[in-house]
Amino acid sequence: MSLRSSVERQQDQLLKGQTPRPFSEFRCRHIWSTFHFQPGAGSIIAQDYKFFVAGAGKNGQGLPGGLSLDDLDTNFAGEGRVPDDQNLAVWELGVSLLPAREDVVAGDRAAYADGPMDPIDVDNVLSNAVLGVKYLDTELVLGPLSVFSQPGGPHIAVPTLLDWNESSSVVAGGVDGGMGASLGATPWQQRVARLASSSGNLAPSPATRMRLDVPIFLGHTNQFYFFLRFGRAINLRTVAQGGTGAFRARLDLWCAESFRETKN
Protein backbone atom coordinates (compact mmCIF):
# COMPACT_ATOMS: atom_id res chain seq x y z
CA MET A 1 0.00 0.00 0.00
CA SER A 2 1.45 3.37 -0.96
CA LEU A 3 0.08 5.01 2.17
CA ARG A 4 1.98 2.48 4.24
CA SER A 5 5.15 3.14 2.25
CA SER A 6 4.70 6.88 2.84
CA VAL A 7 4.42 6.28 6.55
CA GLU A 8 7.48 4.04 6.42
CA ARG A 9 9.43 6.73 4.58
CA GLN A 10 8.42 9.31 7.19
CA GLN A 11 9.52 6.95 9.92
CA ASP A 12 12.85 6.23 8.20
CA GLN A 13 13.54 9.93 7.76
CA LEU A 14 12.83 10.50 11.42
CA LEU A 15 14.69 7.56 12.87
CA LYS A 16 17.74 7.73 10.59
CA GLY A 17 17.95 11.49 10.69
CA GLN A 18 19.64 13.88 8.32
CA THR A 19 22.76 14.64 10.32
CA PRO A 20 26.41 13.71 9.66
CA ARG A 21 26.29 11.48 12.70
CA PRO A 22 23.43 9.16 11.91
CA PHE A 23 20.96 7.62 14.31
CA SER A 24 22.04 4.11 13.54
CA GLU A 25 20.88 2.23 16.58
CA PHE A 26 17.29 1.11 16.97
CA ARG A 27 15.36 -0.35 19.83
CA CYS A 28 11.91 -0.74 21.26
CA ARG A 29 11.15 1.64 24.10
CA HIS A 30 8.36 2.00 26.59
CA ILE A 31 8.27 5.36 28.30
CA TRP A 32 5.79 6.60 30.86
CA SER A 33 4.89 9.67 32.85
CA THR A 34 2.40 10.19 35.68
CA PHE A 35 0.22 13.04 36.88
CA HIS A 36 -1.03 13.05 40.44
CA PHE A 37 -4.56 14.27 41.17
CA GLN A 38 -5.67 15.06 44.74
CA PRO A 39 -8.94 16.95 44.52
CA GLY A 40 -10.22 15.47 47.79
CA ALA A 41 -13.65 16.99 48.38
CA GLY A 42 -12.92 19.73 45.87
CA SER A 43 -12.98 19.86 42.09
CA ILE A 44 -10.68 18.76 39.32
CA ILE A 45 -10.42 22.15 37.68
CA ALA A 46 -11.03 22.59 33.97
CA GLN A 47 -7.49 22.99 32.61
CA ASP A 48 -4.61 21.06 31.05
CA TYR A 49 -2.57 18.58 33.08
CA LYS A 50 0.78 17.87 31.43
CA PHE A 51 2.84 14.70 31.11
CA PHE A 52 6.57 14.37 30.31
CA VAL A 53 7.45 17.82 31.67
CA ALA A 54 9.21 16.69 34.85
CA GLY A 55 11.74 13.88 35.33
CA ALA A 56 12.57 11.50 38.15
CA GLY A 57 13.93 13.30 41.18
CA LYS A 58 11.93 16.45 40.46
CA ASN A 59 8.74 17.79 41.98
CA GLY A 60 5.87 18.54 39.63
CA GLN A 61 3.07 16.94 37.68
CA GLY A 62 0.66 17.36 40.56
CA LEU A 63 2.86 16.09 43.38
CA PRO A 64 2.56 18.05 46.62
CA GLY A 65 5.61 20.02 47.72
CA GLY A 66 8.38 17.99 49.32
CA LEU A 67 7.80 14.89 47.19
CA SER A 68 9.68 13.89 44.05
CA LEU A 69 8.79 11.83 41.05
CA ASP A 70 10.45 8.41 41.06
CA ASP A 71 10.96 5.66 38.49
CA LEU A 72 7.41 4.42 39.00
CA ASP A 73 6.18 7.86 38.04
CA THR A 74 8.36 8.41 34.99
CA ASN A 75 11.33 6.94 33.16
CA PHE A 76 11.66 9.77 30.66
CA ALA A 77 14.80 11.88 30.89
CA GLY A 78 13.80 14.75 28.66
CA GLU A 79 11.64 17.39 30.36
CA GLY A 80 9.27 18.83 27.83
CA ARG A 81 11.51 17.86 24.92
CA VAL A 82 12.96 14.86 23.13
CA PRO A 83 16.56 14.21 24.22
CA ASP A 84 19.33 15.27 21.84
CA ASP A 85 20.35 11.83 20.67
CA GLN A 86 17.02 10.09 20.29
CA ASN A 87 14.09 10.02 17.89
CA LEU A 88 10.79 8.41 18.79
CA ALA A 89 8.01 6.94 16.64
CA VAL A 90 5.09 6.31 19.00
CA TRP A 91 3.06 3.30 17.86
CA GLU A 92 0.91 2.78 20.94
CA LEU A 93 -0.31 4.98 23.76
CA GLY A 94 -2.65 4.44 26.66
CA VAL A 95 -3.66 5.93 30.00
CA SER A 96 -4.20 4.04 33.27
CA LEU A 97 -6.05 5.41 36.29
CA LEU A 98 -4.22 4.06 39.33
CA PRO A 99 -4.33 4.38 43.12
CA ALA A 100 -2.61 7.43 44.53
CA ARG A 101 0.86 7.13 46.03
CA GLU A 102 0.78 6.22 49.71
CA ASP A 103 3.05 9.08 50.66
CA VAL A 104 0.63 11.47 48.95
CA VAL A 105 -2.49 10.26 50.74
CA ALA A 106 -0.89 9.60 54.13
CA GLY A 107 -0.86 13.26 55.04
CA ASP A 108 -4.63 13.72 55.14
CA ARG A 109 -6.64 10.57 55.78
CA ALA A 110 -9.87 12.52 56.06
CA ALA A 111 -9.60 13.69 52.47
CA TYR A 112 -7.81 10.75 50.82
CA ALA A 113 -7.87 6.96 50.89
CA ASP A 114 -5.75 4.13 49.57
CA GLY A 115 -6.84 1.60 47.03
CA PRO A 116 -8.30 1.54 43.54
CA MET A 117 -10.52 4.27 42.28
CA ASP A 118 -14.26 3.92 42.60
CA PRO A 119 -15.51 2.69 39.17
CA ILE A 120 -18.02 5.52 39.16
CA ASP A 121 -15.14 7.99 39.58
CA VAL A 122 -13.23 6.21 36.81
CA ASP A 123 -16.28 6.65 34.61
CA ASN A 124 -16.49 10.32 35.62
CA VAL A 125 -12.85 11.02 34.71
CA LEU A 126 -13.00 9.09 31.44
CA SER A 127 -16.19 10.92 30.46
CA ASN A 128 -14.83 14.37 31.09
CA ALA A 129 -11.23 14.40 29.86
CA VAL A 130 -9.57 14.38 26.47
CA LEU A 131 -5.98 13.42 25.62
CA GLY A 132 -3.86 15.70 23.48
CA VAL A 133 -0.30 16.37 22.38
CA LYS A 134 1.63 19.60 21.92
CA TYR A 135 4.53 19.21 19.51
CA LEU A 136 6.56 22.27 18.50
CA ASP A 137 3.77 24.80 17.87
CA THR A 138 1.05 22.29 16.99
CA GLU A 139 -1.54 21.36 19.59
CA LEU A 140 -3.87 18.44 18.85
CA VAL A 141 -6.71 16.87 20.80
CA LEU A 142 -6.21 13.19 19.94
CA GLY A 143 -9.56 12.02 21.26
CA PRO A 144 -11.65 11.31 24.37
CA LEU A 145 -9.59 9.85 27.21
CA SER A 146 -11.70 6.68 27.25
CA VAL A 147 -10.38 5.71 23.81
CA PHE A 148 -6.83 5.40 25.12
CA SER A 149 -7.13 2.40 27.40
CA GLN A 150 -3.90 0.80 28.54
CA PRO A 151 -4.12 -3.00 28.63
CA GLY A 152 -2.94 -5.08 31.53
CA GLY A 153 -3.47 -5.18 35.25
CA PRO A 154 -5.76 -7.37 37.33
CA HIS A 155 -9.52 -7.23 37.59
CA ILE A 156 -10.31 -7.37 41.25
CA ALA A 157 -13.14 -7.15 43.69
CA VAL A 158 -12.00 -5.03 46.56
CA PRO A 159 -12.98 -5.52 49.27
CA THR A 160 -15.05 -8.63 48.74
CA LEU A 161 -18.76 -8.61 49.31
CA LEU A 162 -18.18 -10.36 52.60
CA ASP A 163 -15.80 -7.83 53.95
CA TRP A 164 -17.85 -4.76 54.46
CA ASN A 165 -17.88 -3.53 58.02
CA GLU A 166 -20.81 -3.77 60.33
CA SER A 167 -21.49 -0.11 60.29
CA SER A 168 -20.81 1.47 56.95
CA SER A 169 -19.96 5.10 57.00
CA VAL A 170 -21.89 5.75 53.83
CA VAL A 171 -25.27 4.99 55.41
CA ALA A 172 -26.61 7.04 58.26
CA GLY A 173 -27.23 4.71 61.16
CA GLY A 174 -25.21 1.94 59.57
CA VAL A 175 -26.08 -1.23 57.67
CA ASP A 176 -26.29 -4.52 59.51
CA GLY A 177 -24.61 -7.61 58.20
CA GLY A 178 -21.29 -8.49 56.73
CA MET A 179 -18.47 -10.42 58.22
CA GLY A 180 -15.84 -7.77 58.49
CA ALA A 181 -14.62 -5.73 61.36
CA SER A 182 -16.57 -2.80 62.73
CA LEU A 183 -15.72 0.76 61.80
CA GLY A 184 -11.99 0.58 61.54
CA ALA A 185 -9.16 2.92 62.16
CA THR A 186 -8.23 3.05 58.51
CA PRO A 187 -10.28 4.19 55.55
CA TRP A 188 -9.76 0.75 54.00
CA GLN A 189 -12.09 -0.85 56.47
CA GLN A 190 -14.81 1.62 55.66
CA ARG A 191 -14.77 0.90 51.97
CA VAL A 192 -17.74 -0.65 50.26
CA ALA A 193 -17.53 -3.64 47.96
CA ARG A 194 -16.76 -2.94 44.34
CA LEU A 195 -15.43 -4.54 41.24
CA ALA A 196 -12.48 -2.68 39.87
CA SER A 197 -9.67 -2.95 37.43
CA SER A 198 -6.28 -1.66 38.36
CA SER A 199 -5.99 -0.03 34.99
CA GLY A 200 -9.39 1.54 35.47
CA ASN A 201 -10.27 1.50 31.82
CA LEU A 202 -11.12 -1.30 29.39
CA ALA A 203 -9.48 -3.72 28.81
CA PRO A 204 -6.92 -6.02 30.35
CA SER A 205 -5.73 -7.84 27.26
CA PRO A 206 -2.74 -6.48 25.30
CA ALA A 207 -3.95 -8.39 22.27
CA THR A 208 -6.87 -6.00 21.99
CA ARG A 209 -4.81 -2.87 22.57
CA MET A 210 -4.85 0.23 20.43
CA ARG A 211 -2.09 0.32 17.84
CA LEU A 212 -1.80 3.46 15.79
CA ASP A 213 -1.92 3.11 12.02
CA VAL A 214 0.03 6.35 11.76
CA PRO A 215 2.61 6.77 14.54
CA ILE A 216 3.24 10.02 16.33
CA PHE A 217 6.69 11.18 15.25
CA LEU A 218 8.83 13.00 17.85
CA GLY A 219 12.17 14.24 16.51
CA HIS A 220 15.33 14.79 18.54
CA THR A 221 15.58 18.06 20.50
CA ASN A 222 12.01 19.03 19.64
CA GLN A 223 9.71 20.28 22.35
CA PHE A 224 6.65 18.23 23.17
CA TYR A 225 4.31 17.18 25.94
CA PHE A 226 1.05 15.29 26.23
CA PHE A 227 -1.87 16.62 28.25
CA LEU A 228 -5.12 15.60 29.86
CA ARG A 229 -7.60 18.40 29.32
CA PHE A 230 -10.76 18.73 31.41
CA GLY A 231 -13.15 20.97 29.52
CA ARG A 232 -15.41 21.25 32.57
CA ALA A 233 -14.72 20.89 36.29
CA ILE A 234 -15.80 17.66 37.96
CA ASN A 235 -16.14 16.45 41.54
CA LEU A 236 -15.25 12.93 42.62
CA ARG A 237 -16.72 10.93 45.46
CA THR A 238 -15.30 11.83 48.85
CA VAL A 239 -13.80 9.30 51.22
CA ALA A 240 -17.01 9.35 53.25
CA GLN A 241 -18.90 8.40 50.11
CA GLY A 242 -16.56 5.50 49.38
CA GLY A 243 -14.22 7.33 47.02
CA THR A 244 -10.48 7.82 47.29
CA GLY A 245 -10.23 11.58 46.73
CA ALA A 246 -6.95 11.04 44.86
CA PHE A 247 -5.53 9.00 41.99
CA ARG A 248 -2.66 8.82 39.52
CA ALA A 249 -3.06 9.00 35.77
CA ARG A 250 -0.18 7.32 33.99
CA LEU A 251 0.41 7.79 30.26
CA ASP A 252 2.38 5.03 28.52
CA LEU A 253 4.00 5.40 25.11
CA TRP A 254 5.30 2.35 23.28
CA CYS A 255 7.83 3.46 20.68
CA ALA A 256 10.37 2.58 18.08
CA GLU A 257 13.44 4.60 19.03
CA SER A 258 16.55 5.47 17.11
CA PHE A 259 19.57 6.76 18.95
CA ARG A 260 23.22 7.45 18.44
CA GLU A 261 26.10 6.92 20.75
CA THR A 262 27.21 10.15 22.39
CA LYS A 263 30.54 11.65 21.39
CA ASN A 264 33.54 11.13 23.66
Binding site: A203, L212, F230
Partner: protein, 275 residues
Protein backbone atom coordinates in the same frame (compact mmCIF):
# COMPACT_ATOMS: atom_id res chain seq x y z
CA UNK B 1 -8.91 -6.92 5.01
CA UNK B 2 -11.39 -6.05 2.25
CA UNK B 3 -13.39 -8.87 0.75
CA UNK B 4 -14.03 -7.08 -2.52
CA UNK B 5 -11.12 -8.51 -4.50
CA UNK B 6 -7.84 -7.04 -5.72
CA UNK B 7 -9.23 -4.71 -8.41
CA UNK B 8 -11.70 -2.99 -6.14
CA UNK B 9 -9.12 -2.94 -3.37
CA UNK B 10 -6.70 -1.20 -5.72
CA UNK B 11 -9.39 1.28 -6.65
CA UNK B 12 -10.11 2.04 -3.03
CA UNK B 13 -6.40 2.47 -2.37
CA UNK B 14 -6.14 4.93 -5.27
CA UNK B 15 -9.14 6.86 -3.95
CA UNK B 16 -7.56 6.89 -0.52
CA UNK B 17 -4.24 8.17 -1.89
CA UNK B 18 -5.98 10.84 -3.97
CA UNK B 19 -7.87 11.98 -0.92
CA UNK B 20 -5.02 12.01 1.54
CA UNK B 21 -2.18 13.16 -0.74
CA UNK B 22 -3.72 15.35 -3.42
CA UNK B 23 -6.89 16.85 -1.94
CA UNK B 24 -7.66 19.71 -4.28
CA UNK B 25 -5.03 22.12 -5.52
CA UNK B 26 -3.07 21.95 -2.30
CA UNK B 27 -0.76 19.07 -1.55
CA UNK B 28 -1.69 17.35 1.67
CA UNK B 29 1.56 15.72 2.63
CA UNK B 30 1.30 15.23 6.37
CA UNK B 31 -0.59 12.34 7.86
CA UNK B 32 -1.71 11.70 11.38
CA UNK B 33 -4.20 9.61 13.25
CA UNK B 34 -6.92 10.97 15.50
CA UNK B 35 -10.30 10.25 16.97
CA UNK B 36 -12.71 13.01 16.02
CA UNK B 37 -15.76 13.29 18.25
CA UNK B 38 -18.89 15.34 18.79
CA UNK B 39 -21.60 14.94 21.42
CA UNK B 40 -25.31 15.69 21.90
CA UNK B 41 -26.83 16.30 25.33
CA UNK B 42 -30.29 14.85 25.91
CA UNK B 43 -31.92 16.10 29.14
CA UNK B 44 -35.64 15.25 29.16
CA UNK B 45 -35.60 14.66 32.94
CA UNK B 46 -36.25 11.56 35.03
CA UNK B 47 -39.13 9.69 33.42
CA UNK B 48 -39.09 12.06 30.45
CA UNK B 49 -38.79 11.21 26.77
CA UNK B 50 -36.29 11.93 24.03
CA UNK B 51 -38.75 13.06 21.38
CA UNK B 52 -38.73 11.56 17.92
CA UNK B 53 -36.66 13.54 15.48
CA UNK B 54 -33.12 14.10 14.26
CA UNK B 55 -30.33 15.36 16.44
CA UNK B 56 -27.28 16.62 14.59
CA UNK B 57 -23.65 16.35 15.69
CA UNK B 58 -20.48 17.72 14.06
CA UNK B 59 -22.67 20.81 13.57
CA UNK B 60 -21.39 23.09 16.36
CA UNK B 61 -17.81 24.09 17.09
CA UNK B 62 -16.01 24.50 20.36
CA UNK B 63 -17.24 27.82 21.76
CA UNK B 64 -20.67 27.58 20.06
CA UNK B 65 -23.95 26.89 21.84
CA UNK B 66 -25.93 23.97 20.44
CA UNK B 67 -26.24 20.21 20.21
CA UNK B 68 -28.42 20.22 23.32
CA UNK B 69 -26.05 22.36 25.43
CA UNK B 70 -27.08 25.74 26.78
CA UNK B 71 -23.52 26.93 27.26
CA UNK B 72 -20.45 27.00 25.03
CA UNK B 73 -19.08 23.66 23.90
CA UNK B 74 -15.62 22.75 25.20
CA UNK B 75 -12.95 20.28 24.10
CA UNK B 76 -14.88 17.76 26.14
CA UNK B 77 -17.80 17.93 23.69
CA UNK B 78 -16.03 18.15 20.35
CA UNK B 79 -12.66 18.44 18.62
CA UNK B 80 -14.14 18.86 15.13
CA UNK B 81 -13.22 22.17 13.59
CA UNK B 82 -15.84 22.57 10.89
CA UNK B 83 -19.53 23.33 11.46
CA UNK B 84 -21.37 20.85 9.23
CA UNK B 85 -18.34 20.64 6.95
CA UNK B 86 -14.86 19.21 6.73
CA UNK B 87 -12.27 21.83 7.76
CA UNK B 88 -10.44 23.63 4.96
CA UNK B 89 -6.98 22.21 5.48
CA UNK B 90 -7.84 18.60 6.23
CA UNK B 91 -8.93 15.48 4.43
CA UNK B 92 -10.28 12.77 6.66
CA UNK B 93 -10.38 9.02 6.08
CA UNK B 94 -12.81 7.49 8.57
CA UNK B 95 -11.89 3.85 9.13
CA UNK B 96 -14.15 3.13 12.08
CA UNK B 97 -17.11 4.60 13.93
CA UNK B 98 -18.05 4.29 17.59
CA UNK B 99 -20.96 5.80 19.51
CA UNK B 100 -20.61 6.26 23.26
CA UNK B 101 -23.55 6.73 25.64
CA UNK B 102 -22.03 8.85 28.35
CA UNK B 103 -23.00 10.20 31.75
CA UNK B 104 -24.26 13.81 31.64
CA UNK B 105 -21.95 16.71 32.55
CA UNK B 106 -21.72 17.93 36.13
CA UNK B 107 -21.70 21.57 35.01
CA UNK B 108 -25.27 22.73 35.61
CA UNK B 109 -25.01 25.57 33.09
CA UNK B 110 -25.00 23.01 30.27
CA UNK B 111 -28.66 22.17 30.77
CA UNK B 112 -31.67 23.87 29.26
CA UNK B 113 -33.36 26.61 31.28
CA UNK B 114 -36.02 25.37 33.66
CA UNK B 115 -34.29 22.10 34.50
CA UNK B 116 -33.91 21.40 38.21
CA UNK B 117 -31.57 18.89 39.79
CA UNK B 118 -32.40 16.01 42.10
CA UNK B 119 -34.09 12.64 42.15
CA UNK B 120 -37.72 13.59 41.53
CA UNK B 121 -39.60 13.03 38.26
CA UNK B 122 -38.61 15.54 35.56
CA UNK B 123 -35.43 16.45 37.40
CA UNK B 124 -31.88 15.62 36.26
CA UNK B 125 -29.28 13.89 38.41
CA UNK B 126 -25.85 14.65 36.92
CA UNK B 127 -23.82 12.99 39.64
CA UNK B 128 -24.16 9.31 38.70
CA UNK B 129 -23.61 7.13 35.60
CA UNK B 130 -26.42 6.47 33.16
CA UNK B 131 -28.62 3.55 34.18
CA UNK B 132 -28.01 0.40 32.12
CA UNK B 133 -31.65 0.30 31.02
CA UNK B 134 -31.39 3.83 29.63
CA UNK B 135 -28.18 2.84 27.82
CA UNK B 136 -30.04 -0.07 26.28
CA UNK B 137 -33.04 2.07 25.28
CA UNK B 138 -30.88 4.66 23.54
CA UNK B 139 -28.56 2.11 21.91
CA UNK B 140 -31.51 0.34 20.31
CA UNK B 141 -33.63 3.43 19.67
CA UNK B 142 -31.30 5.75 17.74
CA UNK B 143 -30.13 5.39 14.14
CA UNK B 144 -26.77 6.83 13.07
CA UNK B 145 -27.08 8.62 9.72
CA UNK B 146 -24.14 10.08 7.77
CA UNK B 147 -24.83 13.21 5.72
CA UNK B 148 -22.16 13.98 3.13
CA UNK B 149 -22.71 16.41 0.25
CA UNK B 150 -26.18 15.42 -1.01
CA UNK B 151 -26.21 11.97 0.56
CA UNK B 152 -28.09 10.99 3.70
CA UNK B 153 -27.29 7.39 4.57
CA UNK B 154 -28.50 5.40 7.60
CA UNK B 155 -25.45 3.47 8.78
CA UNK B 156 -27.05 1.46 11.56
CA UNK B 157 -28.24 1.58 15.14
CA UNK B 158 -26.13 3.13 17.87
CA UNK B 159 -25.80 -0.40 19.26
CA UNK B 160 -24.05 -1.44 16.04
CA UNK B 161 -21.21 0.99 16.73
CA UNK B 162 -19.80 0.45 20.23
CA UNK B 163 -17.24 3.08 21.15
CA UNK B 164 -13.77 2.21 22.34
CA UNK B 165 -12.91 2.09 26.01
CA UNK B 166 -14.61 3.20 29.18
CA UNK B 167 -14.96 2.11 32.77
CA UNK B 168 -16.77 -1.02 33.78
CA UNK B 169 -17.75 -2.49 37.09
CA UNK B 170 -20.26 -1.77 39.78
CA UNK B 171 -20.34 0.14 42.96
CA UNK B 172 -22.42 -0.54 46.03
CA UNK B 173 -24.72 -3.38 46.72
CA UNK B 174 -28.43 -2.71 46.86
CA UNK B 175 -28.16 -2.23 50.60
CA UNK B 176 -25.87 0.70 50.41
CA UNK B 177 -26.47 4.17 49.15
CA UNK B 178 -24.45 7.23 48.38
CA UNK B 179 -24.42 10.35 50.43
CA UNK B 180 -24.87 13.73 48.77
CA UNK B 181 -22.30 14.45 46.12
CA UNK B 182 -21.35 18.09 45.94
CA UNK B 183 -21.05 19.37 42.39
CA UNK B 184 -18.45 21.89 41.23
CA UNK B 185 -20.81 24.84 41.66
CA UNK B 186 -21.62 23.87 45.24
CA UNK B 187 -25.03 22.35 44.54
CA UNK B 188 -25.71 18.86 45.80
CA UNK B 189 -28.06 16.08 44.88
CA UNK B 190 -28.85 12.61 46.20
CA UNK B 191 -30.19 13.64 49.58
CA UNK B 192 -31.57 10.24 50.52
CA UNK B 193 -30.19 8.68 53.65
CA UNK B 194 -32.76 5.97 54.31
CA UNK B 195 -32.29 2.38 53.18
CA UNK B 196 -35.93 2.46 52.11
CA UNK B 197 -34.97 4.71 49.25
CA UNK B 198 -31.60 3.18 48.70
CA UNK B 199 -29.98 3.31 45.31
CA UNK B 200 -30.28 0.21 43.27
CA UNK B 201 -27.21 -1.32 41.79
CA UNK B 202 -25.29 1.34 39.91
CA UNK B 203 -23.52 -0.54 37.17
CA UNK B 204 -21.14 1.46 35.09
CA UNK B 205 -21.86 0.45 31.55
CA UNK B 206 -21.99 2.06 28.20
CA UNK B 207 -22.00 1.09 24.57
CA UNK B 208 -18.33 0.11 24.49
CA UNK B 209 -15.71 -2.35 23.34
CA UNK B 210 -11.96 -2.64 23.07
CA UNK B 211 -9.95 -1.01 20.29
CA UNK B 212 -9.28 -4.27 18.48
CA UNK B 213 -12.97 -5.12 18.35
CA UNK B 214 -14.37 -1.79 17.19
CA UNK B 215 -16.39 -1.75 13.98
CA UNK B 216 -14.04 -1.01 11.10
CA UNK B 217 -15.65 0.10 7.87
CA UNK B 218 -14.85 -2.13 4.91
CA UNK B 219 -14.93 0.94 2.71
CA UNK B 220 -13.77 3.99 4.64
CA UNK B 221 -15.77 7.19 4.68
CA UNK B 222 -13.72 9.59 2.57
CA UNK B 223 -14.29 13.21 3.54
CA UNK B 224 -12.62 15.87 1.42
CA UNK B 225 -11.60 19.31 2.67
CA UNK B 226 -14.45 21.87 2.74
CA UNK B 227 -17.19 19.41 1.81
CA UNK B 228 -20.43 19.44 3.78
CA UNK B 229 -20.64 16.71 6.39
CA UNK B 230 -22.44 15.92 9.63
CA UNK B 231 -23.98 12.99 11.49
CA UNK B 232 -27.62 12.73 12.52
CA UNK B 233 -28.82 10.73 15.51
CA UNK B 234 -32.28 9.79 14.31
CA UNK B 235 -35.01 8.74 16.74
CA UNK B 236 -37.93 7.44 14.66
CA UNK B 237 -39.92 6.98 17.87
CA UNK B 238 -39.73 8.73 21.24
CA UNK B 239 -37.41 7.09 23.80
CA UNK B 240 -38.62 7.24 27.40
CA UNK B 241 -35.95 7.30 30.10
CA UNK B 242 -36.36 5.54 33.45
CA UNK B 243 -38.49 7.29 36.04
CA UNK B 244 -40.31 6.76 39.31
CA UNK B 245 -42.02 3.44 39.92
CA UNK B 246 -45.66 4.34 40.57
CA UNK B 247 -45.93 1.47 43.05
CA UNK B 248 -43.00 2.59 45.17
CA UNK B 249 -43.61 4.16 48.57
CA UNK B 250 -41.44 7.15 47.73
CA UNK B 251 -41.96 9.38 44.70
CA UNK B 252 -38.21 9.87 44.42
CA UNK B 253 -36.34 7.96 41.74
CA UNK B 254 -32.97 6.75 42.86
CA UNK B 255 -30.30 5.80 40.39
CA UNK B 256 -31.72 7.51 37.31
CA UNK B 257 -30.06 10.45 35.59
CA UNK B 258 -32.87 11.81 33.41
CA UNK B 259 -30.12 12.94 31.04
CA UNK B 260 -27.28 11.47 28.99
CA UNK B 261 -24.90 12.33 26.21
CA UNK B 262 -24.44 10.49 22.94
CA UNK B 263 -20.92 10.95 21.57
CA UNK B 264 -20.05 9.94 18.02
CA UNK B 265 -16.41 8.91 17.54
CA UNK B 266 -14.77 8.84 14.13
CA UNK B 267 -11.57 6.77 14.18
CA UNK B 268 -9.69 8.43 11.37
CA UNK B 269 -6.50 9.22 9.52
CA UNK B 270 -6.25 12.83 8.44
CA UNK B 271 -4.00 14.54 5.98
CA UNK B 272 -3.15 18.17 6.41
CA UNK B 273 -1.65 20.69 4.04
CA UNK B 274 1.67 22.32 4.68
CA UNK B 275 1.09 25.86 5.95
Amino acid sequence: MSTFGPRIDASIIRQQDMLLKAGQATVFSRFRQRTFFSSFLFSPGIGGAIQSGRYEVFAALKGDVGQGYSDALTDRETNWQGARRVPDQQNVLVRGIGVEIRRPPQSLSSYRPGITFGNDPSQVNPSIPVHAADVMAVASGLIVRAKYLTQDVPLGLVADFPAVGGAFGFNESSRQIAQPLVLPNGASVNDSVSPATAYPFLPVTKNSTTWAFKRRLQVPLMLSAKDTFSIDLHAPRAITLLGANPGAPSPASQGYTGALEVVVHLYAIESTANA
